[in-house]
Amino acid sequence: MLEVIKSGPLSTIQDIGRQGLRHLGVSQAGVIDPVALKLANTLLSNNDDTAAIEVTIGLCEFLFHAPTNFVIAGADLNAALNDEAVYPCWRYSAKAGDKLTFKQNRDGLRAYLVVEGGFTNIDKLLGSYSTDLMAGFGGINGRALKQGDKLSYTPSTAKSSVGGLQPSYEKLIHFIPGPHLEIISNQTLSVLNDTIWKVNPSSNRMGIRLSGHSSLVHAHNIATQAVHPGVIQLPPSGEPIILLNDCQTTGGYPIIGSIIRADMRHLSQLGAGDCIHLKSTSVTDAAKESHRVQAHLNQLRLALKNKEQ
């Protein structure tokens, strides 16, 4: 059992998210960095749909009540096991009574904690373990973890430490131009490409709000249409919103682009005040990037299989 001693600002149970229910208004939810989750699950020989604790910012503390192997992937939030540093994307063993703490790091926002075999006292709801904070279901009663929560797991014997290479997080994020660019102005694309965008403090799991250029203020609405994580909306304020996993399933703001799937993971690490560049790309190049990420995961799987045979 893993006991939450301190929950931190926002720790939630997340897996790859809910798929196929947008037509019923159900958000995707799930990890914002699916690559981190896959790396962690691979290092623990877990199923791909094994859920993680998504730790935001840090400042939390967990107590292991039984032995297990675990991995933290994603940002380095200065984690420590009994005061000894724990690094992202390495497999560690914990004994009963061990304490895992997260401090704070300015380099990234979210880390993913996974235990071998996953947590056994949470059920899938609508095909996923993910917490939907807005709708209030999934994970533990649809809410963030709080002090005293206990997450069960099947105890496992200690394995040797092994690590995977985690691709770096970038502040240059690629997008495919969207359908409503021109209704704003014929300069929208170049403004998107040439501006240093600053992440606003009001950003959350629903979306990253950006500011940086005053020329995009407008008075257009579109007929409400389906939206999904990665879509860049432009509200009349002219400040773009990059939708994240907890976003609504439909929206009526003009759509000026979509972040490519391979770069979604970079968004998981953006916090208030961070500066990013957006760069337009093609669907073909986006597919190449997706393949590159998949190849990285495949290589890790293969390497582990050879090592642990």
Binding site: H23, A223, T224, H228, T249, I255, A286, A287
Partner: protein
């Protein structure tokens, strides 16, 4: 010229936009529901999401994007609209008093008696045009013109679960308590969304809803 436009949003979402009313054809909404049914049955999509005047289909395999855009353009005019057989629902409503806090104000504003307001709202068939905003929150098209008025300028923070509301050209039922800017006419005891049930949402895109007055 085709009355539908198709484009790729991101890498795997095909947006089909009905741009104008087809001549001598069935209503555009019926055609969009027929399109959803046809796309769902192909097995090539993770999800097919209708909205106000569009359908967005999420491909399992992004490499099929070009082929599907062509197929949709070609098939649009020949969709068999008659094949869509919607489910009909009767939703019981307690109108006014503590159940609908805006009921009397709306009656005044629209210069209707309470009886007329109830009759107008409950005498027509609504169709679930799309679901969004909240899980199971259905945008019901078909609101009589006499009842159409813009949303409140300031949303209230707590709309009670089961509230029956109107705004713009839609009626809706709040599946759970939430903030909201629609005008509240009444309330129902019917469960609209249950994440523990397999179908989750009582109302599905294309379904027909009729409100029935219930007195306590």
């Amino acid at each position: 010229m085709s009355d539908v436009s198709c484009y790729l949003l991101g890498e795997q979402a095909i947006v089909v936009n009905a741009t104008c009313l087809p001549k001598n054809k069935s209503p555009i909404n019926q055609r969009l529901f027929a399109l959803k049914k046809w796309l769902d049955s192909s097995g090539d999509f993770v999800d097919v999401v209708p909205a106000k005047s569009s359908v967005t289909a999420y491909l399992k395999d992004p490499r099929k994007a070009d082929a599907w855009q062509h197929k949709i353009q070609a098939h649009w005019q020949d969709l068999e609209v008659a094949e869509v057989k919607p489910t009909h629902h009767h939703i019981e409503v307690f109108y006014g008093k503590e159940f609908g806090q805006d009921f009397e104000r709306i009656a005044d504003e629209l210069q209707l008696t309470p009886k007329q307001l109830i009759e107008l709202h409950s005498s027509v068939d609504y169709q679930v045009q799309f679901i969004g905003f909240l899980p199971g929150f259905a945008y019901l098209s078909g609101l009589p013109t006499a009842l159409q008025l813009p949303r409140k300028s300031t949303p209230i923070t707590k709309v009670p679960k089961g509230s029956i509301a109107i705004a713009d050209s839609y009626s809706a039922i709040y599946p759970s308590q939430s903030p909201g800017g629609w005008h509240l006419l009444g309330q129902t005891n019917t469960t609209l969304f249950d994440p523990n049930s397999a179908s989750a949402s009582l109302l599905q895109p294309g379904d027909i809803v009729r409100f029935v007055e219930k007195s306590c």
